[in-house]
Amino acid sequence: MAVQIRSVRQSKRFQAMKLLRYHRDRSVDMHINVTALVDMMTVLVIFLLMQFNVSGQILFISKDLRVPKAVHVLEIAKGPLIALTRAGDLYFEGQLTKTKLTAPTAANRWEIAELADALRASHMSDVVNVQIDQNVDYSLIKRVLHTCESAGYRRIHLSVGDGRQDRKI
């Protein structure tokens, strides 16, 4: 049996259009070649999937958080994510944990109780990822780092932007 590619696929409505007024008795091939479109989409999907899983770890960056850039950086490791914004809002795994974090005073201990509880509850490894806005003061940073340390996280990964493309030093 010979395989024959069908040339007429148009509907009755299409056949009745004025477009085919002078060719009603002849078949008109109106195919759109989608091969290039399918190829392009396949390549795009493969590229995006590779980008998506480049390090096995996805770090979501809050829109009001600008991380500093560094040239000599390591790959991001798997672990809980802490974010500290310029306004002093502290997030753990995307959830707001404490607002308006203040510098430690004599009456105020360094450890942040809410963060320590959350860290201890999700203790998987000794690695924690910390995203901090570039304008945050060290007096706040040391509270976060101290809390991570007291919760048993010995390796702290400070997330930074990859500045290898605009290296200065």
């Binding site: 049996m1 989409m41 991001i76 570039q134 040391k142 991570c148 010995r154 930074v160 990859d162």
Partner: protein, 146 residues
């Protein structure tokens, strides 16, 4: 006997629909900012290093409001004042660290002390310089005078 025509078309419409959906999802959730990380040891982890690894004294860098102080334990640190535009002198820091590193190439530890008021960006800049010359085991601690 007349041969019957056979339609050999593969219907690509569901495939294109699927691809469009996947591309839209991936592009919406994609993170275009390239991220990396700098590994910082906690104070406890740094002090728990084996004795043989601490035979060489670590390099110490202090970040103060006036500038940077670079040196070793039990030695007078070198002071690197801020530049005229109020920024830390990172090229001078790199040279000072290179000198200390060249005296003990096996040295990897850096003790970084930051005073209150230091911005996170400035701390990362110092860490970046140190990591670039091979001082990759950084412990970040508060400056005692703060």
């Amino acid at each position: 006997m007349r041969a019957r025509s056979l339609s050999a078309f593969v219907n690509l419409v569901p495939y294109i629909d699927l691809m469009t959906t996947i591309i839209t999802f991936l592009m919406m959730t994609a993170i275009w900012t390239q991220m990396g990380s700098i590994d910082v040891q906690s104070q406890a982890a740094a002090s728990a290093a084996p004795e043989n690894e601490l035979k060489v004294k670590p390099v110490l860098v202090m970040i103060t409001a006036q500038g940077l102080m670079v040196g070793e334990e039990d030695a007078k640190p070198q002071t690197l004042l801020k530049t005229t535009n109020g920024e830390y002198d990172l090229p001078a820091l790199k040279n000072a660290l290179l000198q200390l590193k060249s005296s003990h190439p096996e040295r990897l530890e850096l003790g970084l002390f930051a005073a209150d008021g230091t911005k996170y960006q400035q701390i990362v800049q110092v860490m970046d310089v140190a990591t670039g010359i091979g001082l990759s085991q950084i412990s970040l601690q508060p400056l005692a005078t703060s």
